[in-house]
Structures are given as structure tokens and as C-alpha cells.
Amino acid sequence: MSKTLRTYEEINEKIAKGQVVVVTAEEVIDLVREKGIERVAREVDVVTTGTFGIMCSSGAFLNIGHTKPRMKIHEAYLNGVMAYAGLAAVDLYIGATQPAKDDPLNKVHPGEFRYGGGHVIEDLVAGRDVLLEAYAYGTDCYPRKKLVTWINIRDLNEAYLFNPRNAYQNYNVAVNPSDKTLYTYLGVLLPRMGNAGYSSAGQLSPLLNDPFYRVIGIGTRIFLGGGIGYVVWQGTQHNPSVARNERGIPKGGAGTLAVIGDLKGMSPKWIQGVSIRGYGCSLALGLGVPIPILDEETLYYCSVSDEEILAPVVDYSHAYPHGTGEVLGYVSYAELRSGIIKIQGKEVPTAPMSSYSKAREVALTLKQWIQEGKFTLTKPVAPLPGVESGVRFKNLVERPVETSVLVGR
């Protein structure tokens, strides 16, 4: 363990005095190359990270307020998209990937998925009116059975994003060696390895700058969708046990974050509904995490560059859908970002699904907020499960269901 250089309290005091030194995870790379870890660790208080990409495991809780007479909503649609109503009377959860109820889906492949939960969230954030249709079975205390009305985010009691899994620490690079075009969540994959889809901000990505979750934990205040949010738990499928390189960087999808944030403070610039051809609808989102430079080790980890981060190349025509775990090779984010990678001797153009320019803008915005004293750092109240936790991502083991159970279903 290297010597503590500063505490959260000291950083926040410097923020209050306007004396804090902040750089982005991209800027810090050259700074460390130029001046060395020791000197930069003394000079820099905070490094800001950022990512902007499609994050499917996202959604929002809404409380629409009570009607007269009262209603315990059983089934609800927002602009024709089903929201989960299995909560208290007027609480709803709208999930990012829920398509509109009359969407033709993939009946004519590849489906367009023009409008879904992510678009509803974008419309709410943009302050546009959203049509609510709700149904109930009626009870003595909640007699109303039907409701059709416009709602607007400004009138909702609460509207907050609660995303079970965001900010994946590293991810696959998808290729398609087959003879037909594939429509995947990593984009349209052209046959005979005509292109390669990937999605990570690499050197700017939050968890790639804190690979062992030394400073990012439960309670960390973050940039979320242009507003303020918090890390609330490890994300679903959090998998710290993935093999790592000598810098501690996982060689595939590893850690994830569950995050929360007030939708009312967010901006459509940072939260946008998306339609992935042949796959579904989702939400593109900007997320940034500040990293306090508590010691030299923290700085060492966040000085990582795209050359040092490797991603596995996976065949999405076979290995991925069938879960074989086979990897065709590894490429660095520097190669991916160059626009061309080499796989099995073939030059393949790369097609990113996450936006590097927006990731950079997230990190720069967060940097500015901290410099202007609008954003202070929080110390985690509990750590995320690390390598030592033994937490491991499991596949489902299916168990045969007895005929006696199936009868009558």
C-alpha cells in the first residue's frame, strides 16, 4: 500500500476554496508520461472519467401522484410502452429495452424498434408530455379502474433513474465470420468479418481507471445523464474474477455498477433513446466517475492508456449466441480506435457503439463542475466486491421439470 497523499475531506476543502487540481483520465496519461507518477500524484487531486454508450440495463422509477378517486394501477403504458406496475398504487418502473406494445418486433427481420422505454425516458427528460394509459381491477380503497392522461416530468412526485447495470469494465469486440449479415447489440455485423463492433470508452472508462475498485464503491457520487447520481451497488453480472493483465485490467467484461440519479436534473443531451436494428430498443447514457488521487497507486491505475487495455474478439455468429466462451484473439483499444484491426491476418474496419467524443465531454464536464465547486467527492460507505470476494458470474443451470408440474400449465 502506498502512502496516503490526501483524504476526501482535504480534497473537498480544496474544492470549496477553488484550489483543486483536476484532470481527465485522458489528460493524465501524457502528464504521467512527462512528469512521472510521483510528481503528478503530488500535484493532481482528482482524475475524472467518462463514458457514453448504450446501457440496456437501465430504467426509471416514477411516482405519478394519486388520482381522485384513487387507483391502484395494475397495468400501465407510457406512450404505448408497458411500464411495470407491480409496485404500490401509483409507482411505475419504465425499463429501457421495453418496446412499444404494438411494435412488430422481429416479425419482419431485422425489426426497426422505433420507440421503446429508452425513448420514453428521453421524452420525459426533455420535458415533453407523455401519454399515460393505466388499468386496474378496483378495490374498496382504490376503486378507479381506468385512467388516460398526459403526464409531464415537472408534475411527477419522483422520477429517478435506477440502472441495475451500467459502465461495464471492458467488453467484447464482435465479429461475424459467417456468410450472412447479423443484427446484434454491438451493431450490424457484416459477413466474412466485414467489420468489428465494440463498445467501451477504454482509457476514459470509469472502472478501467480503478480496476480493483479501490476508490469507486457504494455511495460514490457520479455524473449521470447530465445530472448528479450515485453508485448504489455492484451492477448485475459484476464479475471481478475475470483474468487480468499485469496492470490489473480485466481481459473481458468484468465489474459493473448499479447507479441511481434524479431524472429531473438530467438533460436529453446525455440521455437518448436508441433503436438497434434487429435487436431492440435501449438507452444511450453518459456516466462519469471522479477518482480521488489518494495515493500513488490510485494514480498509477488511472494513468492506463488504450494501448494497455485489451478486449477479446468474439465470433457473434456462433461462439457468443451458443456461449462457447471461445475467443478469436485480443486487440487493444488503441487499435480499435485507429479504425482498423487485424484479425487472423485480415484487416477489419471497426464500428464503435459507444461515443468517444461524448465520453471525453463527460470527463471534461465533471472536471469543470469540480473546479467550479459544484460537485464534491463522497467516500464510499462500502466497497464493491473485489477479486478477493470470490464473486463469480454464473450461467444458469437448467433443471428438468417433472411432468406432474407441467400438467395443467
Binding site: G187, Q272, S275, I276, A284, P349, M353, K358
Partner: protein, 137 residues
Amino acid sequence: MNGNGKKIVLRFPQEVADRPIVCELALRFGLQFNILRASISPHREGIMVMEVIGSREKQEEGLAFLASRGVLVEPLSQDIRMIEERCYHCGACVGLCPTGALFMERPSFLVRYDPGKCIACELCVLGCPARAMEALI
């Protein structure tokens, strides 16, 4: 392609969709052409995207001939449009675009569109998650 090539979109109404018209560009006017895309809709209307190569004078004569036969002729560049306010510059389209009309500007990592290089294959329309690429064809 060619310095004096012109990319156009031809629309064939139902009445002319089954006639040999395009070949006259070569036979009568000595123009070369490269068909980039062609399809006939269920209503039997045809659409063809092509690059016509030859002198400006011959091009004008040839296109006037097509118009006289009931074919609607439009320049291609107006047909694929980038909706700037929806684009978040991921670059999914860049890895699909076969001509480099869509490209990643460096070091800004912003996606740029050069309509002059577009052949209206519409792969970008298919691949853009933000629905920021629009085909008006």
C-alpha cells in the same frame, strides 16, 4: 470513380418500369454508367441509383432523354441526410460505410458526413442506433 461522374437517383413510374430505357444512355449518348442500386416496389415502381460518366453536355442530353421518357431524375446528394441533433458520434456508421462518406474525424472523434462520396447504400440508416441517418429515397 471518375472526375466527370454524376450520381443520380432515377424513379421509374409503373408505366415505364418494364421498358429498356437506361441502356439508351450508352447506345445513344455514349455515356458510361455504374448502377449502384436498383429495386422495384410492390407497386411496380422502380428506383435506380447510378453514377453517369461522360462529358457534361452528353450527361445533360442523356438525362433530358430519360426525363422525356417519364423517368424522374434527381441528384443523389439530397437523399441521405444526417440529422445532426440526434447523432451522438459513436461511429457505428463509420465501420459500415463502404465509401468513406461517413468518417471519424481525429483527434475530435466526431463523425463527419461527405454527401459527395455517398452511394446511398443505406447501411448507415440500418446501423445508426440514434436514427440520425435518414434516407429520403
